[in-house]
Symmetry: C2
Subunit: 456 residues, 2 copies
């Protein structure tokens, strides 16, 4: 059987794995990357339609305080543009369509007050959660014993505020507020600056788009060490002793002194570990299910809604089109309408036949933007729950009683194995920037550990 030897083995060639590799490469370390898919990118996937329409079917945006991903943009000279954010937004609520500008939809004054107060309270709470050790919060046990949904019910009194807040939460987490603990939600919001940042375009997490897509950026970063990446090479067993690890892959054995795993927590135990993963880590990984996210695109010859003074942004309570964005570039470019379907909606929607899905999305887009929306050049959608090597998106979530009791076991190394992936990030957890941070951190850890092994 084919056998290879290296110093550092990285499992996974997404943003975390490539970041770890970049760090190792910069320090002239000897490494290999084993990637299960036949491509790099992990939860990013950029595809070109009609020869020139570049679409991100996975992670898409960059935001202002995401310093590490911006460093990559500047280093590689990747071109970016700002998400279109002019004109009136659409709110569709209880069958009525209204237009508004800014982040907060036009609802009655009482509901607006209610929404504002609840968001403000949530922001303030989130700011009190320490990002390194969220389980140290004085109220950690209490906040981790309830769902975010329970908190929202206790802290809003109008249906409209509740409804809009829930839609915002779905878009941020690719999950229902009932799936996650309040403590985890607070940590996650704080990790990405604030709820306001996470739901915003201007100065927010949806601010900037990469012309060649997020996977395009990663390819540029990985180019100097592309020869170290083994594609279509899932790791199915890792045996370790004091001297290092032995990874059994579909294409033979790779021996290394240290291993960096970037696999999402929910998929970690697909690898058989000898010795076994510590029980607290194993129980933690069982308790971090993946969210469910779909991106649906309808592409038109031009962004015709802009001429009508519309931003292309919709917030609605009408399944399946609850949130949309105009992600095209200039007015002369194609019209690129992006529809999000999240959480329970996503799992149900993707189970419908493809033609039905297209029809349902276009029917709603016609309702919001007029007849021109009926005939896109391209319609495509993707649900990440169907992807074998992530089985969901954006991120591994934490239900109640997870972060407070088991969160401390997330990043701890296990012998010669170090753990990366955006789920392990303190800052920008769940985002590309968090993935990069986690890769750098794990690589530094592994280099340090290898050095202290040698000197001992």
């Amino acid at each position: 059987m084919n056998e290879q030897q290296t110093d550092f083995l990285i499992v996974g060639a997404g943003f975390a794995g490539i970041a770890a590799a970049k760090k190792l490469h910069s320090q002239n370390c000897n490494f290999l990357i084993a990637e299960a898919r036949d491509r790099i990118g992990g939860r990013t996937l950029t595809q070109t339609f009609e020869g020139e329409i570049v679409l991100d079917l996975g992670a898409k945006w960059l935001g202002p305080t995401q310093q590490l991903v911006w460093e990559w943009v500047h280093q590689t000279g990747a071109e970016t543009y700002s998400t279109y954010n002019s004109g009136r937004n659409i709110l569709s609520y209880k069958g009525k369509i209204s237009h508004y500008t800014g982040v907060i939809p036009k609802i009655n004054a009482l509901s607006l007050l209610d929404l504002g107060l609840a968001m403000n309270r949530l922001e303030k709470l989130a700011a009190t959660v320490n990002l390194q050790q969220p389980w140290q919060h004085p109220q950690a046990l209490h906040y981790d014993a309830m769902t975010l949904h329970t908190w929202i019910r206790q802290n809003t009194w109008t249906n409209a505020a509740r409804h809009l807040l829930e839609i915002g939460i779905q878009t941020v987490f690719a999950a229902e507020s009932s799936e996650i603990s309040l403590l985890f939600a607070l940590f996650y919001l704080h990790s990405g600056d604030s709820l306001q940042t996470l739901i915003s375009i201007a100065n927010g997490a949806q601010q900037t788009i990469l012309k060649e897509g997020t996977q395009g950026l990663l390819k540029k970063v990985a180019a100097p060490f592309a020869n170290r990446i083994r594609l279509s090479t899932p790791v199915h067993k890792i045996v370790q002793d004091e001297t290092g690890v032995q990874a059994h892959t579909s294409k033979g054995i790779i021996r290394a002194r240290k291993c960096i795993l970037t696999v999402p927590p929910a998929l970690m135990e697909r690898i058989r570990f000898e010795p076994l993963l510590p029980q607290q880590k194993a129980q933690l990984f069982q308790r971090m299910p993946m969210g469910a996210a779909m991106k649906c695109y309808a592409i038109y010859p031009s962004p015709f809604w802009r001429q009508q003074g519309l931003s292309g942004q919709v917030i609605s309570d009408e399944f399946p089109v609850k949130v949309t964005f105009d992600v095209g570039h200039t007015d002369q470019d194609y019209g690129k309408m992006l529809v999000f379907v999240e959480g329970n909606d996503a799992r149900y929607f993707i189970s419908l036949p493809a033609e039905k899905r297209k029809e349902m999305v276009l029917t709603k887009l016609v309702r919001f933007f007029g007849k021109q929306a009926a005939s896109p050049i391209v319609y495509t959608d993707k649900c990440w729950t169907e992807e074998e090597w992530t089985r969901g998106c954006y991120v591994g979530l934490m239900p109640p009683n997870t972060l407070a009791h088991l969160g401390q076991h997330l990043r701890t190394p296990f012998g010669n194995i170090h753990f990366a992936g955006t789920e392990t990030a303190e800052r920008w957890n769940g985002y590309l920037d968090g993935a990069i941070r986690s890769g750098y951190r794990a690589a530094e850890e592994a280099i340090q550990a290898a050095r202290s092994n040698m000197s001992s």
Copy 2:
């Protein structure tokens, strides 16, 4: 490579797998069982100490309405005895020890009223949940959006009642009330008759003990087809097409027309499926983490506490000994003190050194039962989170937003693959009886499907 052919392949030789095999055997079907462990029994494990002290380190008891497991007892002539249940019980709460008789501890009248009312309310709610389709409950979405912990906080007003109810819940679920949704908890309680049944010895789920242990019973049932069981044979891949399945095991390929999987949901995706598991099933399985349960035994020359008029039963708020039972037989038998450690306690307790654990348990037992408790003949403990092929116990749990939205995908067959395991049971979910029911049901499904394939 070694290749075998059969009609029905059962994966897992626990109670569910052996029940499926028994059904197939009774209908003269051709089948094989692939078991990952080097033993049968799954979450049952009976070990003998000092040559004659038989202890169940996993599932232990039988209760009154568990008809199917009782059928096995009668068919095999397995001997049973009743759990000792005479004398005074001990309550240790806030540093004070008191004695009481019956199921409900002696606390002040107000707390007692509070506890009684809350339990009564919980029982009534549970009775309204349909066992076949719990997601059809008119309040399903509401009950599935909160944790059981939230419900307990909203429905009790004294700390003592809350505390005692939480200890009861921990013992029933091997989990915290904050880990499970209210809807799942209600379903589970109803599935095992009622909370009262599940926490009781008399007429309850802790009523009867098997002399040769639960694994001993299973060995007897499996004896007629023991030659069909392949031990130490984990299945790591299942490829299927219209004609059947091809299971890749550590010892070669097994081809079959139908497959019955009895693997706990949390471990299901360790098997690589081609084609992939449907996405809703996969997301469901990510959302069914295993509980954490430990059994600790201190064995004495005789049950000396009985002479003091004590039942050997303790309810306490003192980590790690919160619940104990006397599981010995006659007064002339060894004294067998069983201590439960559950949920967060279990994950933490097992991470301590073995000597420390023994010391901590014995210190508490001395406090409750006197100096004689300091010197057991045998002390042993086992935490199921450390077992590679279950990674927790008793059962796969459901956090919020799981049962209402994804529960309907639990039992649905996937092509030629049928799903069993106690987690799929409608009655006695999580118990041995539920495992047997699930095995029978899946075997009947598979036989039916094979017949209709042949006639079509």
